[in-house]
């Protein structure tokens, strides 16, 4: 087996298309997970157990089952119930839901870290529940948890090859179809690894910056 640079040059544009999809899926999945996670964290704090219990159970269920199974369910089973999604949308929802349940735990810790006196001061100032969350609690809780959230989103990025199982043409899927068509695996698969490594390393540098910027309070 010999490394063929001309083959590399030939397949690079296709792989870059895959990289784009991978990055789009990660970014959209991260935004979705960040929102879903916050919603889960807030709802689970509800004093009404009829609301907090089912959501808590659902979150544990999602966290306790493999992402691959969830992706199959969303893409291949939901159409039987009349919900048909494009591969990328199904993939983003799957990533967002799965990592949203992890993000919810980060939010929970961050929210618990806000001193009880802040809730009490908000009440003494006669703020509504909503104002208490948006003006007092979340502005204090969110910055310290940004590095932990970013960590999960880097992990999510490395899980995106799972989306190839539901026909999303992300990097891994593109590489595999090139490889299967040309009977050459070494270049496409090595390049996939290289792409992931470079983007991960860049992300980690970004993460360190976030930690310095937001990790400390005061």
């Amino acid at each position: 087996m010999e490394w063929d640079w001309s083959f590399v040059v030939q397949i690079l544009p296709t792989l870059i298309e895959g990289v784009k999809i991978t990055i789009i899926a990660t970014l959209l999945g991260s935004v979705f997970a960040a929102i879903i996670g916050l919603a889960i964290a807030i709802v689970r704090r509800s004093k009404n157990r009829l609301i907090s219990m089912p959501v808590g159970f659902l979150a544990e269920f999602i966290r306790g089952t493999p992402l691959l199974v969830q992706l199959y369910f969303i893409f291949y089973v939901l159409p039987d119930l009349g919900i048909t999604l494009s591969p990328l949308v199904a993939g983003v929802i799957g990533l967002g839901l799965h990592y949203g349940t992890y993000a919810a735990e980060v939010y929970r810790a961050g929210i618990d870290n806000v001193a009880r006196g802040q809730w009490e001061a908000a009440r003494a100032c006669n703020l509504t529940t909503r104002q208490t969350w948006t003006q007092v609690i979340l502005p204090q809780a969110l910055p310290p948890m940004i590095p932990a959230l970013a960590n999960y989103f880097i992990a999510m990025f490395k899980e995106t090859p799972l989306l190839s199982a539901i026909t999303v043409l992300e990097l891994m899927n593109q590489a595999r179809s090139i490889a299967n068509y040309n009977y050459r695996y070494i270049e496409p698969i090595t390049l996939v690894g290289a792409f992931f490594l470079v983007i991960s390393l860049v992300s980690v540098v970004g993460l360190r910056w976030l930690e310095r910027r937001y990790g400390k309070i005061d």
Partner: protein, 265 residues
């Protein structure tokens, strides 16, 4: 201004409160007149802080009733029946009451000025311009106008507490609750906070309830002193009566301990 003889602004009638098996307040009753300056003293765990927290609706009660400014605090009438108060009732009631905490509880992510303007703008719809104008007057009154743009983390404890007082005043409450507001301060910072309380006491007609271990200040500040022990009022009287001629043994024992600990009475 002397307390008025009008109907009480706070009427506490037979309230009890337990935390688990510990009964903090036991069938407690007392009332407070408008403009009255009331000092609540007593050993820790005697329930005096819990009363303030209940009035601020930070804790509920197990039984009894509380009327504030004529309205039932924890119950509301609906279809002719008394029902537990809902959030909008509590919201209306809280407009009458302000509280300053032992640990200041300033919003650390907002500058001093924003700490003071936040609640009036959000809860009363005051414009930013008016809220800031009023806030600057209050900060000037507590001697911190030059710190308006500082963050709370840049202030000393005494400065933080003075901002917290300005923040509570910004909502113009009829009743102010001060919960051991100097207990967390270094000794040399106590006086600057007491001076502000002193001015409020002299220059405003708010009703004020003060939980404190500063007996000398309580003596000068209060129209009336309540001595608490184990969730009950043991003695209720004018400052001179309580501090100079306590009738109850438990009051005498408590004051002796406090004096032994070096506090001025």
């Amino acid at each position: 201004m002397p307390p008025s003889n009008a109907a009480p602004i706070i009427e506490i009638d037979g309230i009890s409160k337990s935390f688990g098996a510990f009964k903090v307040l036991n069938d407690l009753s007392f009332s407070v007149k408008p403009r009255e300056k009331l000092a609540l003293i007593g050993p820790s765990g005697s329930g005096k802080t819990t009363i303030l927290r209940i009035l601020m609706t930070l804790e509920g009660i197990d039984s009894g009733t509380i009327r504030v400014d004529g309205d039932n605090l924890y119950q509301m009438e609906r279809n002719g029946k008394l029902q537990p108060a809902d959030e909008s009732h509590l919201h209306r009631m809280r407009e009458k009451i302000g509280m300053v905490f032992q640990l200041f509880n300033l919003f650390p992510h907002k500058c001093v000025l924003d700490n003071v303007t936040l609640a009036p703008m959000l809860t009363k719809g005051v414009s930013r311009r008016d809220a800031e104008k009023h806030a600057m007057e209050l900060l000037d009154m507590v001697g911190l106008a030059d710190k308006a743009k500082s963050m709370p983390s840049q202030l000393s404890g005494g400065q933080k507490q003075r901002v917290a007082i300005a923040r509570a005043l910004a909502l113009k409450p009829k009743i102010m609750l001060f919960d051991e507001v100097t207990s967390a301060l270094d000794p040399e910072l106590v006086e600057e906070v007491l001076n502000v309380l002193w001015r409020l006491c002299r220059e405003t007609d708010m009703t004020m309830l003060l939980v404190t271990h500063e007996m000398g200040f309580a003596h000068d500040f209060a129209d009336r002193v309540l001595f608490f022990d184990r969730g009950r009022i043991v003695e209720d009287g004018k400052p001179d009566e309580i501090f100079r001629h306590p009738k109850q043994e438990r009051t005498q024992a408590f004051l002796k301990k406090i004096i032994a600990a070096g506090h001025r009475v």
